[in-house]
Amino acid sequence: MRYGAEILVYLKEGVLDTQGKAVAASLTRLGYDDPSVRVGKYIRVEIEASDIDSAKETFDKMCKDLLVNAIVEDYTVKVEELR
């Protein structure tokens, strides 16, 4: 079975988000009223797995192994079954 995951990786609270700060400033310059912005990563992964639980486990392991730097980042994973 094929499974897809939408992985959102973002900086932990309290970690300086240099990008978000700069984007917010640009939006303000464009006339938007003081938006707050955080910029993270959106990673879309697809794998083969026997069932959804094992897929979830694999995605989670991928995050720990490579996709996420736990020292500064947090993440969420949303898994769906694909045909």
Binding site: T18, Q19, A22, V23, A25, S26, R29, L30, V39
Partner: protein
């Protein structure tokens, strides 16, 4: 000639461009702060220099196009005035829609800084009359996001109209489509290029294959009285 070099927060080749122009032509270019709303009167050439405008956050050049000065840079180009975007300046030009396409992360996901060979595709423009068509020159690149991209049908059109200014000729360093290293707008008065001519304008620091760019521009301006 009257040159305005736009300084965005994070520009870092602004002073290099001023230095190269001075060395090549004797002319003193003016540094213009991004927060200004008007270019100095009589400006012949606007240079958008290399660097990391606004930290290159989000997408390179994306935020610079929101800078106050850019409206007047567009007006200048619409009047037929010359605009040269180098590296980050090229990215600003595509993000501002003054040039077609987009510049994506290099094929090998690494910043590349080294001299490379490019071929001069046209010698009949304001920027390149000092070269010969087909001439291969060596000029450094220094970028992380220089892979030129344009949807296929538009790319064909770009080629047909002869808008390609420079092509990588000794191997494609970044995966750019059709080996494109620099392009013109339709009018030929706006040029964006990834290689840095200002870095090779003085033999003492490596080479001077970039020198003809400044000399071509100066001659063009003097001839057309633009």
């Amino acid at each position: 000639m009257n040159v305005a070099v736009v300084v965005f927060p994070g520009s870092n080749c602004d002073r290099d461009v001023v230095k190269a122009i001075k060395y090549a032509t004797g002319d003193e270019a003016a540094l213009v702060w991004h927060g200004e709303t008007e270019l100095p009167g009589e400006t012949d050439l606007v240079v958008l220099p290399g660097g990391f405008s606004y930290g290159d956050y989000l997408r390179c050049g994306a935020m610079a196009h929101t800078a106050p000065i850019m409206a007047d840079v567009k007006r200048h180009a619409d009047r037929g005035g010359l605009v040269l975007g180098i590296c980050n300046g090229f990215q600003v030009l595509t993000e501002s829609k003054m040039l077609p396409g987009a510049l994506l992360v290099n094929r090998d996901l690494a910043f590349i800084c080294r001299p490379i060979e490019i071929s001069v595709e046209r010698d009949d423009t304001a920027f390149t009359s000092g070269y010969e068509k087909g001439q291969v020159i060596t000029i450094p690149i220094a970028h992380y996001e220089g892979r030129y991209h344009l949807p296929e049908n538009e790319l064909e059109l770009l080629e047909e109209r002869g808008q390609v200014a420079f092509r990588y000729s000794g191997g494609n360093p970044n995966g750019a489509l059709n080996d494109i290293a620099g392009i013109y707008n339709e009018g030929g008065n706006v040029l964006g290029m990834m290689p840095h001519p200002e870095r090779y304008s003085d033999r003492a620091v490596g080479g001077d294959d970039g020198l003809p760019v400044w000399l071509s521009i100066k001659r063009w301006i003097e001839r057309t009285g633009a």
